[in-house]
């Protein structure tokens, strides 16, 4: 069990200042709120420790570099990576996935196949769709079943000898579906294709061990695990990272530049061109410490039990139709209410201090697969409790009343 009240007290946004005391924040799949430790770390670094990294030979720069590299070590151990050089800092999940897709371009050709799934966020769909257009490879999308789980038998048959990449999400940001990634990765391993895992939603939900998972690449964003925006992580096996063609070129990544030829560093530095998000990386380190201290086992249990409770309570409104798997979902649920447009629902809930997300959730192919236009989505985190869900359910009754 986690102590929600104690955790919530560490998040200034819930402190009641600035008129936000009644905020019920159920949009955690979009982004999470920030605890004091993260905010303080940013302020401390910018106030007293700030300098650019990897180039200054004065003490301040040396120390800033050490903090930045310590954040890399923390991230590596958070993911149980074998080597801290397997952690590349970037801007976001989106950037990490684009970095992989474009970095593989010279190795993909017509006749190759890239496989993704109908559950993907546009960030793990478009980079591959575009890569296929650029290279002539074929873009294949593994289907889902009506309950929003992957059709594993079909997926297995779709991994062929020509499949070069399997890109899939760990947890669906729309339905909360938890993919059996361990099983899927073993299937892919037998066929020898690269596996790219989108961990944007799982990073703050479940313990991730990249060595056990045995994925080639994994991406997540700091802002979804209580860290700052502007910092993302691309994990890759060292060999796989070093085979990527850099996605950007510039300062900090070079060994030597001459008028006609240049050479570049190995990963991770060879993939971190320019001044990186230094403060954000360091504060991400604090966010990961914060999560580790609470314990991912507890966090997962909390998220799952809130989801179960929410589903149970929502079923008390007969006009609610839940989307996605019946059970075993991440802390995310999507639903429909009596044909009422999700944006009307979200406006009326917003007016009652409840923040939810409405629409296609950057998953238009998923909406098409489900034959719907959008959903209303509630997603839970460590500062939510059953009370929040009770209020959501009450507010939904109000929506029904207003709209009928």
């Amino acid at each position: 069990m986690i102590d929600v009240a104690k955790i919530k007290s560490q998040f200034p946004i819930f402190s009641g200042k600035h008129g936000l005391n009644s905020l019920i924040y159920l949009d955690n799949a979009a982004t999470t709120q920030k605890p004091m430790v993260v905010l303080e770390r940013l302020q401390q670094f910018y106030s007293y420790q700030y300098a650019s990294i990897h180039r200054g030979i004065y003490q301040l720069a040396h120390q800033a570099t050490a903090y930045y590299e310590a954040a890399r070590h923390k991230t590596a151990s958070f993911l149980n990576a074998e080597n801290h050089d397997e952690v590349v800092f970037c801007k976001s999940t989106t950037e990490a996935l684009n970095m992989v897709a474009q970095g593989l371009k010279s190795r993909i050709k017509a006749g190759d196949e890239i496989l993704t799934t109908a559950l993907e966020h546009h960030a793990n769909y478009l980079p591959w769709q575009i890569l296929c257009k650029q290279t002539g490879a074929s873009f294949r999308v593994a289907p889902i079943k009506p309950d929003g789980t992957l059709d594993l038998n079909t997926l297995q048959t779709m991994i062929s000898g020509n499949t070069k990449v399997l890109a899939l999400t760990h947890i669906s940001n729309t339905l909360g579906t938890i993919n059996p990634v361990q099983e899927i990765i073993s299937m892919a391993r037998q066929r020898g294709c690269l596996v790219v895992l989108d961990a944007a939603q799982s990073i703050a939900f479940d313990k991730i061990d990249v060595q056990t998972l045995d994925c080639d690449f994994l991406a997540f964003s700091g802002h979804k695990i209580f860290g700052p925006t502007g910092i993302g992580v691309l994990y890759g096996k060292l060999g796989a990272l070093n085979e990527l063609q850099p996605y950007q070129y510039g300062g900090a990544m070079i060994v030597e530049v001459t008028q006609q030829e240049s050479t570049f560093k190995q990963a991770p530095h060879g993939l971190e061109a320019g001044t990186p998000p230094i403060a954000e990386a360091i504060a991400l380190g604090s966010a990961l410490d914060f999560v580790t201290e609470i314990g991912l086992n507890k966090i997962k249990h909390h998220g799952q039990s809130l989801s179960e409770y929410a589903k149970e309570r929502l079923r008390t409104i007969p006009e609610i139709r839940l989307e996605g798997p019946l059970r075993d979902t991440g802390g995310i649920i999507s639903f429909h209410l009596d044909g009422i447009h999700p944006h009307d629902i979200a406006t009326i809930l917003g007016d009652q201090g409840i923040a939810v997300r409405a629409g296609h959730h950057c998953c238009q192919p998923l909406m098409q697969a489900l034959g719907i236009i959008g959903t209303t989505r509630a997603s839970f985190s460590i500062y939510n409790n059953e009370d929040d869900i009770d209020q959501l359910v009450e507010a939904l009754r109000t929506v029904k009343k207003i709209m009928s």
Partner: protein
């Protein structure tokens, strides 16, 4: 619940969107204008027939929220029998009324104008009107 919310979702809007006034698919229409909001997925086809430069038939079909449906329904009603030059004025007049409270606006327009008090919802009330405006602009520019 805030008062403004009650006003936004007042009877005029809800009745209008439920009435399905002007809600009719017509694949044989002379002109089909697409109005689409990528943010929420709202998508309407607006069907128009002209005689000379006058609108003689107008309807819409598609998917949208209460506000975008009510505003589109109002639009297809308002533009009937208008010439192209009148259409441009009618659109501008509507858009102007949305931006400020006009005593003389009809109840439905007054209600739709309240959307500007709600984050992200103003665009629901202008979606189809903007699409028509863009269409007319392209047409008169040619």
């Amino acid at each position: 619940m805030r008062d403004s919310l009650k006003k936004l979702y007042q009877q005029v809007i809800l009745e209008r969107q439920k009435s399905n006034a002007g809600f009719k698919k017509r694949d044989d229409a002379e002109i089909i204008i697409k109005a689409y909001n990528p943010l929420c997925g709202d998508k309407f086809n607006i069907y128009l027939d002209f005689e000379g430069d006058k609108v003689v038939q107008a309807s819409y079909h598609g998917y949208g929220c209460a506000l975008s449906k009510a505003s589109t329904s109002l639009m297809v009603e308002t533009i009937m029998n208008k010439s192209v030059s009148e259409l441009i004025l009618v659109i501008e007049d509507y858009l102007k009324k949305l931006r400020q409270d006009h005593e003389h606006s009809e109840e439905l327009v007054k209600a739709l104008a309240l959307a500007r008090n709600f984050p992200g919802r103003e665009q629901c009330t202008v979606l189809s009107w903007d699409a028509l405006k863009t269409y007319l602009k392209n047409k008169t520019d040619k």
